[in-house]
């Protein structure tokens, strides 16, 4: 009974509230004195969202919008400037470093570049088993069998053959499978996948995506899936948040957001993605300008200087995320226009 309650209570595996991360800008001492203050990059500037257990939550946005920083904050690799991250009901900021280290078993990471995240001098089996050594040293006798079975699961077959190979001896797609296996070895609840397949070739990507979906269902995983590729997100994410300059412009069920984008930025972003069909070429004109500097983001709504529907209020008041349709939030003063 009591266990039932605790499971219900934490239906949200991750809860992020009013999260901020400001990085001080590297300046020399003289500049600081002359300016009289330190400038900050507002990498993440008041972001709130939750990830339900078993769901794949996507974070999309252009380069520098804060995706990676949010991911790192979400698993405690970075400390927030303000705001809170709750993981399965536990406030990460309340943890001692040893407790956080233990909790890491339950949150693992897959990064973009498998070559950079694998030790070139360690055989694949040892790389994959690394998490077991850290978190389950007492079970050393079982490490090899657990490793072989996870290798089998991610399609590194026959696993005995791959166990003794080194990263340079296998293909790019296989390396990405090694990285996935290494993340799964500790039986985590949450996988932070930061552009996990961006480096893979088109013909290899589909298989990797399919593998990630399959593993998620089979192992009841929760994903925080970070990507700048909205087309790829469609094949894996249940819900998605669209970031612009460190803030969520829009968030909701993926089919909702893609089907009825309410924020002018999301609309532009979606229109900009080319469709693999020469009969459906884009006719929309793209918004002017480029992403502004995150050190001094525009006042009011950060998108207002580029926004086709901006009015005076947009340069003054920062719009809050509000629910305009079921399961669909948007931060725009004029989103009703697009309902």
């Amino acid at each position: 009974m009591s266990e039932q309650i605790s499971i219900n209570k934490n239906e949200n595996l991750v809860e992020i509230t009013h999260l901020k991360k400001w990085f001080p800008v590297q300046q020399n001492f003289l500049d600081q004195i002359l300016a009289g203050h330190v400038d900050f990059v507002r990498a993440v500037d008041d972001v709130s969202f939750t990830i339900k257990r078993g769901e794949a939550f996507g974070l999309a946005g252009e380069s520098g919008s804060g995706k990676t920083t949010i991911g790192r904050l979400a698993i405690g690799l970075e400390k927030p400037t303000a705001g809170k991250v709750m993981f399965d009901g536990i406030d990460l900021s309340s943890l001692e470093s040893e407790e956080l280290r233990k909790l890491r078993r339950r949150m693992q990471v897959i990064f973009q570049d498998p070559m950079a995240s694998l030790n070139p001098r360690m055989c694949l089996g040892d790389s994959i088993a690394h998490g077991l050594k850290i978190h389950y040293p007492e079970k050393i006798a079982e490490h090899r069998d657990i490793t072989l079975s996870i290798m089998e699961k991610v399609g590194l077959t026959p696993p005995h053959f791959f166990f003794t190979k080194y990263p340079h001896q296998i293909s790019g797609g296989q390396r990405q499978r090694v990285v996935i296996a290494r993340a799964l070895i500790t039986n985590p609840d949450l996988i932070l996948a930061d552009e996990p397949i961006a480096m893979a070739d088109v013909s290899v990507r589909a298989l990797l995506l399919d593998l990630m979906v399959q593993l998620k269902n089979e192992l009841n995983l929760t994903y925080l899936f970070i990507t700048h590729d909205l087309a790829t997100a469609k094949y894996i994410c249940d819900r998605i948040g669209i970031l612009y300059l460190g803030r969520l412009a829009e968030m909701g069920d993926l089919r909702e957001v893609y089907g009825h984008a309410l924020h002018p930025y999301t609309q532009a972003l979606m229109a900009a993605v080319p469709v693999p069909n020469p009969h459906e070429r884009r006719t929309q004109v793209m918004p002017a300008g480029e992403i502004p500097n995150p050190i001094n983001p525009p006042s009011g709504c950060r998108f207002h200087p580029r926004c086709p529907v901006a009015q005076e209020i947009c340069s003054k008041d920062e719009p809050e995320l509000r629910a305009l349709r079921p399961g669909h939030w948007v931060a725009c003063h004029y989103a009703e226009k697009f309902l």
Partner: protein, 338 residues
């Protein structure tokens, strides 16, 4: 067939090898195709299939230990392989120009934008007086949507999208006939990329030059190109009109590739096609047709003989045994309807 005055570049049986510690890498193998005047031709293929090598070969920018081992490149009726160094330098600046993924590698960090452009004019057209050169630069820059005050900036002061426009400008300032854009939009954000795509389209309309768009982004080619060449493991496997190929791909690799491209449209395919295997290492390319180990249609002869690039219907070339006869073939040859 296109009449010859429409053809700008003819590439015939071109092969390029890199020489490495592990032996020769057959990066481009017996490739033949034309580039038409004023067209946008998309060259797509996966990482390492030889796109950049082919692009550089068109400019004869293949440096030892790599070598163009055979073949011909006829540019506007002239044999580029016969050019001496002086001709080649002039050819590269004036007739053909290349834009790379990272423009910082081609821009001089201590040279302002206007200096780059003026220098290009002065090197290739030494008789031009400075005022005229400056005037031409100002007109062009306005045309490219770069503000005049940006002329005084150094490359590092520009955004990625702006740098690529300067690179385009370097091609346009001398009225090149062909711009090769090698992953030129790849590191840009999608909105900036979309704007650059619009710009390339407008430039083609206005200046009538041909653009070879080299990319691994197939959706981008669907967006911009008139024709598409699909490359696999050093060979062009299919070439033709963009809509024909998307509507009715013929080569099994093209068929698989096109159905594995994710689409943002909700009503487009829910499932991506999952091609088996991975592209081969080109130090040891597969025998016969290089795609045969991954091909769902492979026949016994495919591993033994390399097919030809054949024009199966006018304007449509395929490099596959399914569409050509061979005495040792068990299956009947597929006849493609125009």
């Amino acid at each position: 067939m296109m009449s010859n005055d429409k053809v700008l570049v003819q590439v015939r049986n071109l092969s390029v090898n890199y020489h490495t510690r592990l032996g020769p890498v057959s990066a481009v193998n017996d490739v033949s195709f034309d580039i038409y005047r004023g067209e946008i031709l998309g060259l797509v293929g996966e990482s390492g299939c030889g796109k950049s090598t082919l692009g550089k070969a068109l400019m004869r920018m293949i440096m030892p230990p790599a070598k163009i081992s055979s073949g011909a490149i006829i540019f506007d009726g002239e044999d580029v392989m016969k050019f001496d160094q002086k001709r080649l330098r002039d050819f590269r600046g004036r007739r053909i120009s290349m834009i790379f993924q990272d423009p910082m590698t081609s821009l001089n960090p201590v040279q302002r934008v206007d200096e780059h452009l003026i220098e290009a004019i002065q090197v290739h057209e030494p008789k031009t007086v400075l005022e005229n050169a400056q005037e031409r630069v100002r007109t062009l820059i306005g045309r490219l949507g770069i503000q005049e005050r940006r002329l005084r900036d150094y490359p590092h002061q520009l955004s990625g999208g702006m740098r690529q426009r300067v690179m385009i400008g370097l091609g346009l300032i001398l009225n090149a006939d062909l711009i090769i854009a090698d992953e030129a939009t790849t590191s840009l954000d999608v909105i900036v990329e979309a704007k650059l795509v619009d710009q390339l389209r407008e430039i083609r309309e206005e200046f009538g030059l041909a653009i070879l768009v080299i990319t691994h982004n197939i959706a981008l080619v669907a967006e911009i190109a008139d024709r598409i060449a699909v490359m696999y493991a050093g060979q062009i496997v299919e070439l033709g009109d963009i809509t024909n190929i998307f509507d009715n791909p013929l080569h099994p690799y093209t068929i698989g590739l096109l159905s594995s491209v994710p689409s943002i449209k909700l009503d487009d395919h829910e499932e991506l096609y999952k091609m088996s295997g991975e592209p081969p290492n080109l130090t040891h390319p597969p025998s016969g047709c290089r795609f045969h180990p991954r091909c769902p249609e492979a026949m016994p002869l495919c591993s033994r003989f390399c097919p030809n690039m054949e024009e199966v219907v006018p304007g449509r070339w395929v490099h596959c045994w399914l569409y050509q006869d061979h005495p040792q073939k068990e299956r009947s040859t597929i006849k493609v309807k125009a």
